[in-house]
């Protein structure tokens, strides 16, 4: 799971509707896998992501290089860094905790498990 995908995960325990995003990452194991750089794609993707959620999540996995506020123009250095963070950083193992209800979702072998048991949905 990469941070792009993590940026789309939200707690869905029944009744947990506010402050349930982003899921807090902890006890993570990370792997870097290089992939082709495409600046045009990054430019459009960055605007679609929730930036403040992204910088929080990045910080939780030890990445502190993202600016607090999304810059107006993206220079090459910024895009290269974003490429690394969004597309090359894979969370292989870890815990994702809902900031509201504390439900824990696990990431195992790169796959986040968003299933709930019946009493929770």
């Amino acid at each position: 799971m990469r941070l792009v995908t993590h940026n789309m995960l939200q707690c869905h325990v029944r009744g947990c509707n506010v402050n349930n995003y982003p899921l807090q990452l902890s006890e993570v194991e990370i792997e870097i896998q290089e992939t082709e750089f495409n600046s045009q794609f990054l430019r459009s993707m960055i605007r679609k992501l929730e930036w403040s959620a992204l910088i929080n999540s990045a910080r939780e996995i030890g990445i502190t290089t993202l600016p607090e506020v999304l810059p107006d123009d993206f220079d090459e250095d910024f895009l290269r860094n974003i490429h690394r963070v969004l597309l090359e950083t894979h969370i292989q193992q870890g815990k994702m905790t809902c900031p509201n209800c504390n439900h824990v979702y696990l990431v195992r072998d790169g796959i986040p498990n968003m299933l709930l048991n019946e009493s929770e949905t």
Binding site: M1, R2, V4, T5, N7, M8, L9, Q10, H12, Y21, Q33, T35, N38, Q40, F41, M45, K48, L49, E50, L87, D109, G110, I111, P112, N113, M114, L115, L116, T121
Partner: protein, 211 residues
């Protein structure tokens, strides 16, 4: 990549180890999968450089086909971990990257996926007696999320119902192809191993995205 090449390169995928009948686990054939994705790519330009999601990805054939046609970011979800593990292995054999999520389309709102995914491709379960209408749940969710279009397979016998729903949901729909599909038997009391059913290959598109 040409259609023929795409189809032949999809031949080497592994299928389900122990298909779960209740989840309607069977693979789209390389022939069909190649045609679905090739059409989405060459006629509608909905794949190259796009964010593509695959709902009920099974062993991942649609995501892999999409990758081979140069989609930029692929996400695939399924309710079954063992299917995702096979899909993961298939992807590493093909050297393509897909982010997998273990999730249930029926209960997960996928709220944050909205507006981040361009195109959704899927071969949803058609729904058995106990799980009627599950393909419509897949379709509704896919249409809420995709910014551009959804490609999906549905039983031809439900064609009018689907067209009616598309109208109700304010999306355009067109049938790209009608096909026969060899579906493994989902009901225990049937004697035959599989049946041919007629299936429509639909493209649904958001009206807003037309300009």
């Amino acid at each position: 990549m040409r259609l023929k090449e795409l189809e032949s390169s999809l031949q080497d995928l592994s299928g389900f180890d122990e298909p779960k009948i209740t989840l309607e686990q069977y693979c789209t054939t390389p022939h069909l999968a190649a045609r679905m994705l090739y059409t989405a790519h060459s006629v509608y330009d909905d794949i190259e450089s796009k964010v593509v999601a695959d709902f009920g990805c099974g062993c991942g054939i649609l995501s892999i086909a999409s990758n081979l046609l140069e989609s930029e970011f692929n996400m695939a979800l399924d309710i079954d971990l063992s299917a995702l593990k096979i899909a993961q292995k298939n992807c590493s054999n093909y050297e393509v990257e897909v982010d997998f999520v273990l999730a249930d389309i029926k209960s997960d709102s996928l709220y944050q996926w909205k507006n981040k995914v361009d195109t959704i491709v899927m071969n949803p379960p058609f729904g058995t007696k106990t799980d009627k209408g599950i393909d419509m749940i897949f379709l509704k969710k896919a249409l809420e999320i995709a910014t551009t279009s959804v490609y999906s397979l549905h039983k031809s016998s439900t064609r009018e119902h689907i067209k009616k729903k598309a109208k109700e949901w304010n999306v355009d729909c067109e049938i790209i192809a009608e096909m026969k599909f060899d579906v493994p038997m989902m009901y225990k009391f049937h004697k035959k191993k599989s049946v041919d059913i007629e299936v429509d290959f639909f493209r649904f598109s958001k009206k807003e995205s037309r300009n």
